[in-house]
Symmetry: C2
Subunit: 207 residues, 2 copies
């Protein structure tokens, strides 16, 4: 039997879509959380081939890169289009779009979390709002009539996007509220039966 | 029968791994090249859902995002690990690493091609060289003993990376020459029998 260990910091951020896919699929894994003080030494060890987290150990063999791990666990748990090549590709393109939004707004995200020393208010107007204007209409156009991205059932893209909206709903609610479809999307994901136990018991993280 | 049309500019850049996968797989497609003067009007048309190129039309239906399209044609042409989940994931993680290098060096790439007004020499030392130092050892560690990334046969990651090396070999040869394994990798890809006709007849582009 394949055994899994996910190594990341005690944050949601890049690991959360991975953890939620695994929870959705009922796949047990060792949830290892590295402290920031342990990280500098660990970063240089051969256990972390690319010097970055998360790493997913699959029966002891490391798989790196958060987006790669997300796609891998999405396939393993049937959250990626389940072999329908065109649906796999459609979800992949929406994921790329959401990822572009996340990367474009990362300086604001970092400022909100004290990970850089820039002024959040300045970044909100200069970085976050232009990205919202650019990406939200495109992402919105990919929602199905039932307010999820996956056709017929939820996908890893829904988990990925709901996590982004969850954070910005807390930190820039005035903006997110103007997109009730995304508020509804996030509410739907939070209500997925297969994720209820996970949401009820996950360690609380600031981001 | 599925019919394909690839729409991009008359550049290699983001379309080239896609074109090479299709050529490798012997898949015929309409190779539409948009002029820069036609682009502003086309960008706003519903034919281009995300307002970006490339777009691959699959029997008339648009698929957006270059990396998505690359993964899709890689699967269709058997260049992605062919259903071996762990090999698919291994290639995906190397692709992410190569992509990070490409994105980190994009300002230098743009300066070399006149797409921004910055000083290439300055960007070479401040952007390109630090990215080479950071990523090349990691990417190198993923080469198999036969100097390709794919296990046993070439993959879309080989095509993607050889295209990056091809460009920087021309524009920063002093740096690339210090990595003879990548010079050899690119030479091997250029010698792939299934790509000979493509390389002999592709329109010559500056980048």
């Amino acid at each position: 039997m394949t055994c899994y260990e996910l190594v990341y910091f005690d944050f949601y951020f890049r690991a959360e879509p991975i953890r939620q896919c695994l929870a959705y699929g009922g796949i047990k894994y060792k949830d290892t959380r590295v402290t920031l003080s342990d990280w500098p030494a660990l970063k240089k060890s051969p256990k972390i081939p690319y010097g970055t987290l998360p790493v997913l150990y699959i029966s002891g063999k490391p798989l790196c890169e958060s987006h790669t791990i997300t796609r891998y666990v999405a396939e393993v748990t049937g959250l990626d289009g389940e072999g329908d090549l065109l649906e796999v590709a459609r979800l992949d393109q929406i994921y790329e779009l959401c990822r572009e939004f996340q990367e474009a707004t990362q300086p604001y995200f970092f400022a909100l979390n004290g990970l850089n020393k820039e002024d959040p208010a300045k970044l909100k107007s200069e970085v976050f709002l232009p990205a919202v204007d650019k990406y939200f209409p495109k992402i919105l156009s990919e929602l199905q009539p039932n307010y999820i991205f996956g056709k017929g059932k939820i996908s890893y893209v829904d988990l990925y996007w709901a996590n982004i909206i969850e954070f910005y709903k807390r930190t820039a609610r005035d903006v997110i509220e103007k997109y009730p479809q995304f508020m509804e999307h996030e509410r739907l994901i939070k209500a997925v039966p297969k994720l209820q136990q996970y949401f009820a018991t996950r360690p609380k993280c600031p981001f």
